[in-house]
């Protein structure tokens, strides 16, 4: 057959290139679109025909005088806004020799909390833009808080439009101090600052000559260096949510999924939750050959030494380690839907590959994102609200807190009738069901009361305690 067979032994140049997921926080007024467009342009990520179009549009409708208006590369979706697309995160791509970047870009205004949260859930680094003329404003606080809430620990603060304040070091320094002071209560582990002019290209792809006082790296170098920061010590505990049972024939039975944390080795003894069954890993199968070990991020298939019952949504951990089984959890919810929360309703809570019915038992506090997460009281939960809630699930599932493991510590909430995704959640604490002490005896009074409530107040949706053990 005459098919193209590439010459093998060709080693692609970018063999060691890494992937970095980045979110951008800022509004159009801060020059965010211009900055993203500039990054695409300066990394040669644009094709000639796109460039020709940009030149043409810059002349006709641009706002950058005779120069190219980079914001046009990003802001071309006005028609979509008119069509009423309200949830929109745009994904953009560019590469340097060392890194492929995926930018999750969302509008920065207040009503777009859900977009920022969506973008943050796909990012490990945040680029926060501050207009040098305005400094740290309420919007900056909101962006910083949301990044921190969503577990982003590495932040680059770009002080933009520095050209409009005559490249003054004092302006930059005072914004830097303000940001550090404002964010010290947030959970950032690493903050970089860089003064830039996206419009003029200062400190974007090379060192600017306008600011000899700035000793740090330019933006693209800072971003490239994030790869090194990325080497944070991997979490020790192994988490492997079973995604797909691979059983093509009688001879093979494997459990496919992605390692979300830790390392698994051939020969390891594992524990399956919630069933508590044990087994040993005899093979770690991939298309490219069996592995002796697999680490976080790898999509693999485990073959075990014995036939035990495992289904999609079970979590495999190391036999000597522990994971909570939670039925009552506290979480932070970000409401994403136009329809507000209904307290008396059952929703589906989708954890790792398993949806469990449950309900919001109580709304414990609302969070004011303008005041770095200060708690306020307010009824109900509506679009763009962030609230602390208690969730009662109909059965216990293996869970972690979001701080321990973002993957097994997060969930989405689905409306059981419309099937809409109504909320995203981060688990903050788990009331661990101790599985070894099941069949706890219920007092006669407790049983009677429970039946009475279920009979006369069915809309409370009280669980039948007899079926709980």
């Amino acid at each position: 057959m005459s098919a193209i067979q590439p010459i093998s032994n060709v080693i692609p140049m970018n063999e060691t290139k890494k992937l970095l997921r980045l979110m951008t926080c800022g509004s159009v007024d801060d020059g965010k679109s211009t900055l993203i467009g500039r990054l695409l342009y300066d990394t040669q990520s644009l094709f000639d025909d796109q460039l020709a179009l940009l030149e043409d549009e810059s002349k006709r409708i641009g706002n950058a005088g005779d120069a190219l208006d980079f914001s046009l590369l990003v802001d071309g979706l006005q028609s979509e806004r008119e069509q009423g697309i309200t949830i929109d995160v745009a994904y953009r791509y560019f590469s340097t020799d060392q890194t492929k970047f995926i930018i999750a870009d969302s509008p920065g205004h207040e009503q777009y909390t859900r977009n920022m949260v969506t973008a943050a859930s796909h990012s490990s680094v945040a680029l926060i833009l501050i207009d040098a003329r305005k400094g740290v404003i309420t919007q900056t606080k909101r962006h910083a808080y949301l990044c921190s809430l969503m577990g982003i620990e590495t932040v680059i603060v770009a002080v933009n439009k520095i050209d409009l304040v005559d490249y003054q070091e004092s302006v930059y320094e005072s914004i830097k101090q303000d940001f550090l002071q404002m964010s010290h209560t947030l959970a950032f582990r690493h903050i970089d600052f860089v003064p830039v002019s996206a419009l003029r290209g200062d400190n974007i792809a090379s060192r600017s000559e306008q600011m000899p006082w700035y000793q740090g790296e330019f933006l693209l170098r800072l971003l490239d260096n994030m790869n090194i920061c990325d080497a944070t010590p991997a979490s020790e505990s192994f988490r492997f949510p079973v995604q797909y049972v691979n059983r093509p024939d009688q001879a093979f039975r494997g459990f496919s999924g992605t390692v979300v944390s830790g390392t698994i080795r051939q020969g390891d003894e594992i524990l399956v939750l919630p069933s508590q069954k044990r087994a040993n890993v005899i093979e770690i199968v991939t298309f490219d050959g069996n592995l002796s070990r697999a680490v976080e991020g790898e999509a693999i298939t485990l073959v075990l030494d014995r036939e035990i019952d495992i289904s999609r949504g079970d979590v495999v951990i190391h036999a000597h380690q522990d994971m909570a089984l939670g039925q009552l959890v506290k979480a932070e919810l970000v409401w994403l839907n136009e329809t507000a929360l209904q307290l008396d309703r059952q929703y589906d809570f989708l954890f790792s590959h398993r949806a469990i019915q449950g309900r919001i038992a109580s709304v414990d506090a609302h969070i004011d994102i303008h005041e770095l997460g200060a708690k306020v009281s307010k009824d109900g939960i509506a679009l763009n609200d962030i609230a602390e809630v208690s969730i009662q699930l109909q059965e216990a599932v293996p869970l972690d807190t979001f701080e321990q493991h973002s993957s097994t510590g997060s969930f989405i909430m689905i409306d059981r009738i419309s099937h809409d995704t109504v909320a995203g959640g981060m688990i903050r604490s788990i009331d661990n069901v101790d599985h070894r002490e099941t069949n706890e005896t219920l007092s006669e009074f407790e049983l009677e009361l429970n039946q009475l409530i279920r009979k006369h107040f069915p809309h409370w949706q009280a669980l039948d305690v007899r079926k709980q053990s």
């Binding site: 057959m1 590439p6 692609p12 890494k18 992605t258 997060s410 995704t421």
Partner: protein, 316 residues
């Protein structure tokens, strides 16, 4: 001495097998998406266009379910105007990997003798591709369809979800699209509704080529330059692939060394002049020329904002 060699070999292997390179990360993400759909949906299908993105998609699907075969069929919506080499490649390759192939051609379109040269690209694409696809999806009651579209292909695709929701009429409603947080995909639908799934969402054209090189993925030879009979119309080089090509007065096919950056219906796919006859030289040439790949597609330039409209109508 021997020990030392093994150590060196191990080090060399662990370096070249660095499992955290960007291509490996993209691969893992795509495999995850494949498995999620196969597990959560009743009747998925993979749309296959025979092009390079489809070839990468198929390769990733095989990885996702190894050592099993693909747990879903492959659907090719044939317009009747594909390059001959595409069809022969399709049949041989699908047979080789032991997958189930469904070929669907819109019978109404065939009866009407739809011809892109006569009816134009818009009508041809709508009837043979968009309507053909809907017919096939309805006929087989597929509830999920994998496609090879990428977000970097066009401005309007930058916001497309990985799981793109379609109503019972296969329509894409911007307001019905669901937010996607982390990698927790909402796979719940009501009967009749379906989703399109794009495992290559986060790949760029460059990633696709890098991966093809790294993985030795087989492609239709049309991607490589060789002398082919072409005519030039309005600055576009069209290949005279069979006798149905209506030569205009004074037009004479001439053999020029050309290759294709995208593959589709031959009357609608422009060739570019090139001498790159290996994948390596194609990738090299691409790095030099820097034209986006959609430039060669006559479909897109047909009407302004046409991608957006086609998406709403059910075309990818």
């Amino acid at each position: 001495m021997i020990l030392l060699r093994i150590n060196q070999l191990e080090i060399a292997m662990s370096l070249s097998n660095d499992r955290r390179t960007y291509l490996k990360q993209l691969e893992n993400e795509s495999i995850y998406i494949f498995r999620e759909v196969a597990a959560a949906f009743q009747n998925p299908v993979m749309l296959y266009s025979i092009g390079k993105d489809s070839s990468v998609l198929l390769h990733l699907a095989r990885k996702a379910f190894y050592p099993g075969k693909l747990p879903f069929p492959i659907l090719h919506v044939d317009t009747g105007w594909k390059f001959k080499e595409m069809i022969s490649f399709r049949d041989q390759f699908i047979k080789k990997i032991g997958a189930e192939l469904i070929v669907h051609q819109n019978p109404e379109g065939v009866a009407m003798d739809i011809n892109p040269f006569i009816h134009g690209s818009a009508v041809h694409t709508d009837i043979m591709k968009t309507q053909g696809l809907k017919q096939a999806l309805d006929q087989y009651q597929f509830d999920a369809a994998f496609g090879g579209a990428r977000r970097d292909e066009e401005k309007s695709r930058a916001k497309e979800r990985i799981f793109s929701f379609r109503d019972a009429h296969h329509r894409w409603d911007p307001k019905k699209q669901r937010p996607e947080l982390w990698n927790k995909f909402n796979t719940q639908i009501t009967k009749g509704e379906s989703i399109r799934v794009f495992p290559l969402s986060n790949w760029t054209e460059q990633d696709i080529w890098d991966y093809i090189l790294q993985e030795n993925i087989e492609l239709v030879p049309l991607y490589l330059a060789q002398p082919r009979p072409v005519v030039e119309r309005n600055g576009t080089l069209l290949m005279v692939d069979d006798g149905r090509f209506p030569l205009e007065k004074g037009e004479e096919p001439e053999y020029r060394s050309v290759r294709f950056r995208t593959l589709g219906c031959y009357p609608l796919t422009g060739a570019i002049e090139s001498t790159a006859n290996t994948l390596e030289s194609v990738v090299h040439e691409m790095a030099q020329s820097r034209h986006s790949e959609r430039q060669g597609r006559l479909i897109d330039s047909d009407q302004a904002g046409s991608m957006e409209r086609k998406k709403r109508e059910g075309y990818f």
